[in-house]
Symmetry: C2
């Protein structure tokens, strides 16, 4: 499935959340990750995020599209890929 | 259609982009807007965003899902709606 994960988390946890998501998805904008992922891997990723986040303060959204053909991405301006910057 | 728009724009343009998007969609996370919108309204919104943004620096992603039933949103932690905070 195709997944977009966006997050808005406390400063202390930003790096941890970001690092965790980089293990599973592609980092395409400041607080946006996306990519294709299996259901089981996504479940593991979300379980690990739950251990890091503070549910009273933080906000993580997971948008799932079962068939990647059903979602179309359009880019205005720069298309970023932070992962490439860190290789 | 259902649309998610995420942005990463220069500080000088953040407020303008945000204000413009609030005319069309729901503000659900720091730099994330979402909602159902017609193709023609989306085109108008994007045209107006193009006038505000700096294509050399800024990055705006538009994820479109024709049938809203094909996308599932899961929320971890807080579900925010900044629009409600400003009423």
């Amino acid at each position: 499935m195709f997944v977009i994960i966006t997050y808005d988390v406390g400063e202390k946890r930003v790096n941890k959340v970001c690092k965790k998501l980089r293990e599973y998805l592609t980092w395409t904008q400041n607080s946006v990750f996306e990519g294709e992922i299996s259901k089981s891997l996504l479940m593991r990723c979300l379980y690990e995020l739950e251990l890091i986040m503070d549910k009273e303060e933080d906000s993580i959204y997971i948008y799932q599209v079962a068939n990647p053909k059903n979602i179309k991405k359009q880019v205005f301006g720069q298309e970023k890929n932070f992962d490439e910057l860190f290789i």
